[in-house]
Symmetry: C2
């Protein structure tokens, strides 16, 4: 799979799984919703009940900005499997224009965000490597 096709599948995926790691290299992985803008992936922290404690993935990113995300298709026919992995560095979006743009992209992709936009931090992952694999 070439990079253009990998980026296309990344952009269309409805859910990905995001891996971060803390300063000691202990990994953490969660499913997440995201939008792709060129070679940047944006995601946002939803308002949720009991969200008083900081999210582990935000702590990890502050301590260690290296992240990797994967989107994939699982099928009981293992000849139909594929995945796309994207590695990059993550940063909390502080520029208000970039935040607005990221939230607009998220709302455009996810109808679920149209009624209630996330009000937590927005994170950008600037991609440095995108690769794909496909079973035959």
């Amino acid at each position: 799979m070439d990079e253009a096709e990998a980026l296309r599948r990344l952009g269309e995926a409805r859910v990905g799984r995001l891996a971060t790691a803390d300063r000691q290299g202990v990994p953490h992985v969660v499913p997440f919703a995201f939008a792709v803008d060129g070679r940047t992936v944006f995601w946002a922290v939803d308002r949720k009940p009991k969200r008083s404690k900081r999210l582990k993935r935000l702590d990890n990113i502050e301590a260690n900005p290296n992240v990797e995300l994967v989107v994939d298709h699982y099928d009981e026919d293992w000849e139909a499997l594929w995945w796309v992995r994207a590695a990059g560095t993550a940063r909390i979006v502080v520029d208000p224009d970039e935040r607005d743009r990221a939230l607009a992209l998220l709302r455009e992709k996810y109808g679920q965000y149209r009624t209630a936009l996330p009000d937590g931090p927005v994170v950008a992952v600037d991609l440095v490597r995108v690769s794909g694999w496909q079973s035959r």
Copy 2:
């Protein structure tokens, strides 16, 4: 979600995503098939074409045995989302009896393994923490 329910969902999931990290804390995440035996997760490396180079996840585990895996349900109805995360330490299975047991569990769970068992390394993840989340 209590731990028993989290372990039940982990065991039934057909695919998970496994996060490892290298010695520098750079995370890596891939979809994977696995079987659960008590508080141990087993997976095996398939024979694949062009598998001459070592898998990154095996290199990572040798350098840093900390791993985390996640199984989840994605649904366009975000009230139906859930995930289970399991963290632990990974090791290559060297005991032949344990390897046989792991491969038997994998074959039992996945019909796809009945015609061709994986012939690469088998990895055990001894779980130290299992937690679940469910949208309401």
